[in-house]
């Protein structure tokens, strides 16, 4: 697990452009959970672009729901996809597993928002069934988008704290889940950072690297791929940088 960074460099296959974004396959092939496991996949270094590489970089990792129900997760997944869609410009919140990030955050840091999510997701799904006769996640994206716009404009009753309040929260959390460090369960396979052409976490940059801007090759490193920060059993104090005074 505690591989040296230098070994990993350039060996994590780049994100597969042909990644199948259909919902069914996505649920089967969701990316790695967290950076620690991501680091583990790098131990199986396989030539890029081979079918085998695709399998190895997209392991079928179990994805639990810690807070949301299956039905809530379906609704939320569709909302995330409306906000940052998978489209002709590439992957979006779905591939990043923003919904997985949000579910995990509702079990920990963001637990005060649980009830707001549950109440609002149900209100949105009920509105979909009432106005379109189907659950939200089964609607075509035009209908989903128009309902979400109605939520944003406070035209769907039952959302908490309000339609726009819930909309702003879920938008904020979907962005966090798409562009955060992959440790947190989102931004899987670095699809969020690649979307923005962010070249990745580095512990040091030179002037020449900065000057390259978006031409700098993404390194696909999580903060927790670095020995200094990952807290695994193999990462002994002796490997770590010197601490602060008395630390």
């Amino acid at each position: 697990m505690a591989k040296k960074n230098s070994n990993k460099k350039n060996k994590i296959p780049s994100q597969d452009k042909s990644f199948n974004s259909s919902r069914r396959n996505l649920l089967k092939s969701v990316g790695v959970v967290g950076a620690a496991v991501g680091a583990g996949t790098a131990t199986n270094v396989i030539a890029q672009d081979s079918p085998q590489a695709r399998l190895e970089t997209s392991p079928i990792t179990p994805e639990a729901l810690e807070v949301l129900t299956a039905q809530e997760a379906e609704t939320l997944e569709s909302i995330c996809n409306c906000l940052i869609p998978s489209d002709e410009n590439g992957p979006g919140a779905q591939e990043a597993r923003a919904v997985h990030y949000i579910d995990k955050s509702l079990a920990s840091h963001n637990k005060d928002a649980r009830e707001l999510y549950m109440v609002s997701l149900q209100a949105i799904d009920s509105y979909a069934r009432k106005t379109r006769g189907r659950p939200f996640y089964q609607l075509i994206s035009d209908y989903q988008n128009s309902i979400l716009l109605a939520v944003q404009n406070n035209k769907v009753s039952g959302c908490s704290p309000s339609g726009s309040g819930f909309f702003n929260m879920v938008r904020n959390d979907t962005i966090d889940g798409t562009f955060c460090d992959p440790y947190y369960g989102g931004n899987q396979n670095f699809v969020g950072w690649d979307m923005l052409k962010y070249p990745g976490v580095r512990l040091s940059t030179t002037e020449a690297e900065v000057a390259q801007g978006a031409a700098l090759a993404p390194n696909h490193q999580s903060a927790y791929n670095h020995d200094t920060y990952t807290k695994t059993a193999g990462n002994s104090v002796a490997n770590q940088r010197r601490g602060g005074h008395n630390a």
Partner: protein, 567 residues
Amino acid sequence: MPKNLPKTDVVIIGMGAAGGVAALPLTNAGLKVIGIEAGGWLSPRDFAPDELRNGARNWPQSSQKAANEAPTVRASSDQKAVQGGHPMMNAVGGTTMHYWAQSWRLNPWDFKMVSATRKRYGANRIPADSTVEDWPFAYEEIESYYEKVEFAVGISGQAGNVKGKINDRGNVFEGERQSEYPMSPLRSSPFTAQMDKAARSLDWNPFQGPAAITSELYDGRPPCQYHGFCNKGGCHVQAKSSTAVTTIPKAIDTGNLDVVTYARVTNIVTDNNGKVTGVDYLRGSEEYFQPADVVLMASYAYENVRLLQLSKSRAFPNGLSNNSGQVGKHYLSHHQGSPVIALFPHDLHNWYGLPAQGVAIDDWADDNFDHAALSFIGGANLWVHTDRKPISAAKMSTFGRGRNWGTEWKKFIMENADRTNTAYIQKTTLPYDGNYLDLDPSIKDTMGFPVTRITARYRENEKRIAEFSQTKMEEWYREAGAIDIIKTGLGDAMGASTHAYGGTRMGNNSETNVVDRWGFSHEAPNLGILGASVMGTSGSRNPTLTVQALSWRTAEHLTENWRSIVG
């Protein structure tokens, strides 16, 4: 009953920017010092380059003492105050762990703005409702302390005026310095070079601002690695010149400083003659009384003021050092909002930038330009910098280009994530009648003590500076090639801020000030106060270096006048 501890010479409440500096001259002089700190020690291993944890979730200060006592805020006394967030850090090193590290000297004008304004523009230009006073001394009196701190903690920058010799790569408006900075400025970047060039073509005077960040090997610490996670994050290589890696370890090495962590002072104890005798503090569930000859308060303005107001005694029934009713008065928080946001037609290459790597303009700050035809006094420092991270980039303004979600928006952020910049504009902010700190009548912390209540709002002078400086900022961005500009609102309530001033103002007049020209209480002679709570004016730049210079000065005064202060 609290457990009585052996007496010490000096107790410092708070081991942050101020207390962490004061400890060094005190311990070097042989005084035994106990530093009481509400937080603990942090190390480079604690500061992962993690935007979510640092930026969005505010680790680690979200889980600390200050989070339990966030001030309530209201714009005026006819409103109900509402509790919001807090910007303070509890840790050894305090806010110097995670601050931006901009380390300015105030302009000489800031120390005498009342007399200088009267002299240049006439008596009626100071806003009638302002309680501003000249400082009890001029820039020249604090200059050597600025220099001491710049070398002791390690500041990088480009001097603009050394002994009267002007260098236009530095700040040509700064007060005269006796020496260059100990380190050259942080390196430039493609964006800072672009903004520097644009300012020069406007015939302005751009320069790289001073930072408490190493630009080269300094005092055993390596230079900045430009990984860019300074904002709300500590440094992974100790390049940020926090007191936790500079003056505090040196003070400990003298053998005269003991730092007590995870301890919070609940009361400053006084005798019936009005002298302080020590402090009560709580560590875990244990209560202690730490006797001391001298107590130095060194917390944020909110905490200094609150502890004085909570420390009631027979000698001080309205709170310690508050028999003149000045504790909590002359409060202000810096007007540092109302930014201008620019969109450029090309990438700016800012993914690895930091808040202190930037370009400043002082042409429109302080009294560096003629205000005769203007309706305000003071001005603003314009600052552009290079910090950018993915989450905040994705949350960028859409510049009015439609919906902030969906396919079109996604295309917009994919194209423009590295093309936007937000200016940081710090404005002269004045103290006013009706702006003050007191104890909230209903909101309490987890221990049952009332939290601080902020009642304060910006007035016309600040809003006019905001409007004026936004116009200048737009001019600068346009000159640099910006294709779209957003100017945000001019501000109203003064919320809780990292730049919180006043509440225990320094001045010779004991009727309008809490501490004397040396930082000691007018009413309790062996109580000293460090921190921005003693500052009566804000200037138009970050306060920390001035706080640290004042702390050094107060500490040195104590060592040189020990007998008369202890009595």
